[in-house]
Symmetry: C2
Subunit: 469 residues, 2 copies
């Protein structure tokens, strides 16, 4: 076929959609219609994200607001026509921020903008004080000799890189997650990390740190970027910098959180389930608009548009608002929504044909990650035709484990997809008080819904076995 004529190539290309059969063509046309409707903003996405963040504000896992928002969400799903709506509870030990303060004691007293890392223990009311031992990175901290930090407050000043794909956050992660453990092993009495952040505001960025043998080993705080700069400058002025950390954090051992689940049932393949995930809980500082009410809004709107399509798709589309995502532990010792969902459905695992989640803010989708086989299949080709007009390209990055909430499903063998969002500005706001509704661009939110509805419609209206692709 090396000398295939140009004319014939063009004919074959033009024949592409038809080659997949007229049913597929009709299904692709519906996908395009849903995409356009979403792009116009004709979906409940904005109203959803506005109302949940306005009514309930922050939704820390296990809090009254978490519960109230879950009940509201379940009612909202019913109002929107979802079926089999349920709230699936699970227990957890909730961590609750108390009064907290980080301050320079010497050379000249001044307050710092900082927040306790999630899970970190309280201090005595008088706090814990020590001289700052500054490190440029987690690797430098790890290289410090045993006992070299005795009585000190370790500070990792690593400045994360702004990236579109969030890889800068990944690189900075150990400084927040494992820093307290490594510092404690070297004798430190407290821990500071420069917020895993871009944007440069005075907002410290919260986030969970790792439990070791059931507890975070040290009082641990994230400094805002300007405050991290401030400490660096003080150290570089040649000063011995003494700081005091005070936290009144508490643990609520008998808390409960929950997943909220609803479905748009399919038709002839209704037992096949496509899971669309997002998480309902948020950090306590902002109203969790970007993280992750936007994700809830996107998947809800996409599923609702499918429910309102001229006809139902073949497979069932299930939205899952996961609970307690933010406070989950990589070690798996903390119950969380994703694991609870899986544990309750081990018998139905094979009916889960595909899973994806939206948990990276509300900026535009720029690429779609599918398995190589799925990308090359008729489904994948159809999808790319539908989403190309809204600026979405095939990603060379595989979907991996799909995200923290669907990860247990994916590890259990469920195929994943990822609609990759532009995260260039995500870490300006992530886990801060500034994660509020006004940071969401309605047009970008609509573009997300358009990308989601395109993919989910095409997958739900097919009989593609993603496990074998």
């Amino acid at each position: 076929m090396k000398y295939l004529s140009g004319t014939l190539s063009v004919l074959l290309l033009l024949a592409g959609p038809c080659a997949a059969g007229s049913e597929s063509t009709a299904s692709e046309a519906i996908a395009a219609t849903l995409r356009d409707r979403a792009t116009r903003g004709d979906s409940p996405a904005w109203e959803f994200v506005s109302e949940i963040t306005t009514r309930f504000g922050p939704r820390p896992a296990g809090s009254a607001a978490d519960r109230a928002a879950a009940e509201w969400s379940a009612a909202k799903l019913k109002t929107l026509g979802f079926q089999n709506v349920q709230i699936e509870e699970f227990p957890l030990t909730a961590w609750v921020r108390g009064a907290e303060r980080v301050e320079v004691l010497a050379p000249s007293p001044q307050p710092l903008a900082a927040v306790s890392l999630g899970g970190a223990p309280p201090t005595a009311a008088t706090g814990v004080a020590g001289e700052v031992a500054m490190f440029g990175s987690f690797a430098e901290l790890s290289a410090a000799p045993a006992e070299s930090l005795a009585g000190k407050i370790a500070f990792v000043a690593y400045d994360m890189t702004r990236t579109q794909d969030g890889s800068g956050y990944g690189a900075a992660g150990p400084g927040r997650r494992s820093g307290p453990d490594i510092a404690a092993q070297r004798g430190a009495v407290g821990y500071l990390v420069r917020s895993l952040a871009t944007g440069g505001t005075r907002m410290p960025h919260a986030g969970a740190t790792a439990y070791v043998n059931g507890r975070v080993p040290l009082p641990a705080f994230a400094l805002s970027e300007p405050d991290a700069d401030q400490i660096e400058r003080l150290v570089k002025l040649g000063e011995k910098v003494r700081v005091r950390l005070t936290s009144g954090a508490t643990y609520v051992k008998e808390a409960r959180s929950q997943n909220v689940i609803g479905e748009i049932p399919g038709t002839d393949r209704a037992s096949d389930v496509i899971v669309l995930g997002a998480h309902l809980d948020s950090w306590d500082l902002g109203t969790g608009a970007l993280d992750d009410a936007a994700g809830m809004a996107i998947i809800t709107a996409a599923a609702k548009l499918i429910g309102d399509a001229p006809r139902r798709p073949r497979r069932t589309v299930r939205v899952v608002f996961y609970g307690a995502e933010e406070v989950s532990q990589p070690s798996g010792t903390t119950p969380r929504g994703g694991r609870t969902y899986l544990a309750n459905r081990t018998a139905q695992l094979s009916s889960h044909v595909l899973a994806g989640e939206s948990d990276f803010g509300a900026d535009r989708v720029y690429a779609v990650s599918l398995s190589k086989g799925a990308a090359e299949s008729a489904f994948g080709q159809s999808l790319m035709r539908v989403v190309a007009p809204i600026g979405v390209v095939p990603s060379a990055v595989p979907p991996g484990e799909g995200g923290s909430d669907v990860e247990p499903l994916v590890q259990a063998g469920v195929p994943a997809f990822v609609l990759r969002q532009d995260g260039s500005k995500y870490f300006d706001y992530h886990h801060t008080a500034d994660d509020t509704l006004d940071k969401i661009d309605p047009a970008a939110l609509s573009q997300n819904v358009a990308a989601w509805v395109s993919l989910v419609w095409l997958a739900a209206d097919s009989d593609v076995d993603f496990r074998t692709l």
Copy 2:
């Protein structure tokens, strides 16, 4: 002269500088040299603003940091070669922020980002709660009938306009200053105002509110812009919104603050004094980088460059770092730096030939305001030639009272000038925790110093009587 030939006009224009005499021409050449040195960043401006904000952080009037920063500033002036350096104390009652909290109680509890207005009284430990009565503006609040706010929390939601000249702040001002008084007269038990702010971050903007008969009539808070939006949305959802305000503010009756003063002495007209003002105190949330360590740095650097010029100017250049600017009251009942300075110099008032202050951040100077006579004088024409290359034009706006710190001098008859800075972004950070060093653009800071050194050199090296211009 109506038919003056084009050629002759050009010749007269070219002759401009020479027409003022060779001494003036030489002085203008020195001004241009100093301007260029400043533009290159060859001045202590950046180091000054970096070091004072890094070492001392926030400098609330009457605090230990205010005092320490004043002592450091006096030492710094001496190091830089200033003469007659002095610290001029005055008493004041300091207001100190305590633990504070603003929260929605109903329809669903959530915390709000808010800060007590300066001077506002504490509440009981249990706070003060009430239903929100929302008004679109201070005028709407003022139109509310007597007793119509009984038991309520008044909220003025007015959204200030972003402007280059700060006029948007002026228009929003009564909502912060007089709102508590007007609300109290109508029976309100607490007061909320949307921050006088642009930028849209979750940082509430502090600021003084007015004392009435020696006290602020109500507990009073500024909400961040997103929180003001949040309350507006809740009200528009049809909900009765109940909030609680809690403040542990205290007053320190025996506090002291101070002005710091230093001079570059003149030569044959050394008894003539040109006052360059800025203020040393700051609000307690940020490190007062833009407001007003930048101003201190700009005037210090301009005066230092003059001190290092090939020869000294004829008149004395005096920098004054005023104390307690932020907590001053328009009514004049609170002592403040500007009034103390004047009260201690009533006998030397006539020797003050000109005064100006830098207290609008660190963005570029775009215009110079002089009296009409000064603008049209040989001095004014020379100045415009020197500053035109750095983007400064003559302002049609008169200098007025020059700014809050030199206002007492100006009201007493001292001529004022204003170097108008671009304030388009100033109210993104003004009076917030985000007023930190990183918000200053070193190039813009240098341009400010260039504008200042140009004007001050030319005025100091002249015998112009600004009172008669």
